[in-house]
Symmetry: C2
Subunit: 364 residues, 2 copies
Amino acid sequence: MMELKVDLGERSYPIYLGEGLLQEASAYFDKHGISKRSPILIVTDDSVAGYHLQPVKDGLQAGGYNVHSFVVPSGESSKSLHMLERIVTASLEAGLDRKSAIVALGGGVVGDLAGFAAASFMRGIAFIQMPTTILAHDSSVGGKVAVNHPLAKNIIGAFHQPEMVLYDVSTLSTLPKRDISAGFSEMIKHGLIWDAEFTSWLEENRERLLALDPQALQYGLYQGCRVKSLVVSEDERENGLRAILNLGHTIGHALEAVAGYNELLHGEAISIGMVGSARLAMKLGYSEEIYTVTKRVLQDFGLPVRLPEHYDTAQIMNAMMHDKKFKEGTMTFVIPTEIGRVEIRSDVRREWVEEVVEQLKREA
Amino acid sequence: MMELKVDLGERSYPIYLGEGLLQEASAYFDKHGISKRSPILIVTDDSVAGYHLQPVKDGLQAGGYNVHSFVVPSGESSKSLHMLERIVTASLEAGLDRKSAIVALGGGVVGDLAGFAAASFMRGIAFIQMPTTILAHDSSVGGKVAVNHPLAKNIIGAFHQPEMVLYDVSTLSTLPKRDISAGFSEMIKHGLIWDAEFTSWLEENRERLLALDPQALQYGLYQGCRVKSLVVSEDERENGLRAILNLGHTIGHALEAVAGYNELLHGEAISIGMVGSARLAMKLGYSEEIYTVTKRVLQDFGLPVRLPEHYDTAQIMNAMMHDKKFKEGTMTFVIPTEIGRVEIRSDVRREWVEEVVEQLKREA
Ligand SMILES: NC(=O)c1ccc[n+]([C@@H]2O[C@H](COP(=O)([O-])OP(=O)(O)OC[C@H]3O[C@@H](n4cnc5c(N)ncnc54)[C@H](O)[C@@H]3O)[C@@H](O)[C@H]2O)c1
Ligand SMILES: NC(=O)c1ccc[n+]([C@@H]2O[C@H](COP(=O)([O-])OP(=O)(O)OC[C@H]3O[C@@H](n4cnc5c(N)ncnc54)[C@H](O)[C@@H]3O)[C@@H](O)[C@H]2O)c1
Ligand SMILES: [Zn+2]
Ligand SMILES: [Zn+2]
């Protein structure tokens, strides 16, 4: 078992990484003083529930916890105000009170949704993350929680730090292949923005990682969480540094919005977005090598780097104007300046972005 | 013009109280560095809009602000997730960004709703309160914002402090008579929990206050805000002291829930609730005088003290079990122990509460 502390003053919390942690959840709950007198609500989705809900419930009940669960349909469309309302209904029916905890058992969708429910139910109750996807190594650090609006992703949310993250790598073995690749997308991002050595390690270990070798996975997730947590500790409320985590996300979010949140997984969208950022870097005079390496690593992990032809460039540009990364109308992008380093540039010209979107449709 | 600082460390903010402040809003916005490049959204309701929206818009526009507005139907039922979603739609359409502000122009309903929108839009943007009811002296201090769920009031929300409160007492002249009385209910509460002298002042000045004499009003609102702000400064996140502000609210919220948020105004419901608390105080051995004074002051201000017969006691008891003031199932009440002093008591027996609800139906 590995442990990593996310350093946020009085809101600090640990990430426990290891095999078989979910069965032992009750010991971790005890350690963190979660109330046994107040009901707990586990939020999960219908794919995850089939594999992992019962063992978690059984373990917690055996440990004396009063456990309820609420299952949402799997997929991004569950990140909605409508589903938030239903979780609140379930919470009230289960009798949750101010000392209760809401537990997210699942990927980033369940984490963001249940996290916003925990942030806003009674104006904030305890929240515990049990990530079951690779991508969730990202969403489980930093306290950003949110639901979507039909016009924009993650636009209604809060900052709400969990009490702890229980990351059981054994759950990852049931992940669909496409979600495995998509999950590595954010891990690669963490290398690209902060740590060239980790980027090389990822390239060298891609076979073990894609085969879900537990040792390799645990190390990769640890490093990914570590980078994210260093950045977040510096800038909890996204006033500055934290923006570097948005590498590939401005284009990526626009693609997701245009695709109606269905065609592209989040990790796939930002994979294409990161290639776009590398292309923008070239327009700003940075070396072609950044572009070559970015694209190669992503392709190695089975991620898409080309934007399907049918995406409408005008629509994508329009979606970007709604994106929260544009302060007062300026076009701001995270630009890689070498492998392991990025800069926030506010001088990115709209035409360049348009050109890059077109070029992305022709990536080989 | 009077000014009161709500002391909350780096989240401190001023309340400006006076006549004609809304016309001068732009000067106050300038003083607080509200961005002129980012659009501002005023949220108001259809009653308030008719009287006060245009002057505020005109003033801000003349001052160089880019102002948009969104009008919700007047009444408690606008405090919903559905209306939150519509405000977010309006915010996106108006192009609000992270430097934008959302302004609440109205009573507590608009304040709570627009405040929660400001708390959650992009995970939190600036919020400005322009209260137009007497009751809103209460809701404009303390940063509690929320919407309702069909099963419980104020159950989905956040703590989000405003940048400032611009309290223009001239707007109060258009208030319906019933809302004037209901507004004094929370002001009386602030006397009862903290300040016996203020309670006497309220009794002595009730005619000037009910006639909306600007000097008396300004003083009363100032004192009401002051008591609330002293309590909130001690305990921003409601871990202890702040609970005393709930005098009358446990019963009051249950009545509102049972009445379907329509029959009783908030101030009326807690008026009956405060009489109930005084009756519980007697059961705990405190003097009858507390009950006599509480009831007399409330009646003086034209507030109801009797619960209409048709309210079902079992339903009211049930609604109380959903209320967030019950920690882990214990029945906790704010109990007046003398005029100007209250205590939190966790030893209130369920039967007493039931008896008191029945007695409330027979108050003279
Ligand atoms: N809060 C943040 O900081 C942050 C950061 C990155 C991404 N996100 C969000 O995360 C979401 C994407 O996360 P995700 O990729 O984990 O999506 P997800 O939660 O939808 O999970 C992906 C798919 O895998 C299934 N699944 C999950 N765990 C499984 C398991 N162990 N076995 C079998 N199936 C399993 C899910 O049902 C789903 O179909 C997006 O909504 C994104 O906005 C948030
Ligand atoms: N956040 C808090 O700390 C807090 C504290 C107390 C109450 N509240 C909330 O406040 C709400 C009650 O507040 P309220 O009584 O101000 O209700 P309200 O906002 O509904 O206003 C009362 C009525 O008066 C009308 N109105 C408002 N200003 C007017 C004006 N100047 N001229 C003419 N008509 C006007 C409104 O349209 C409405 O019909 C409840 O939802 C309650 O939960 C919140
Ligand atoms: Zn992401
Ligand atoms: Zn109140």
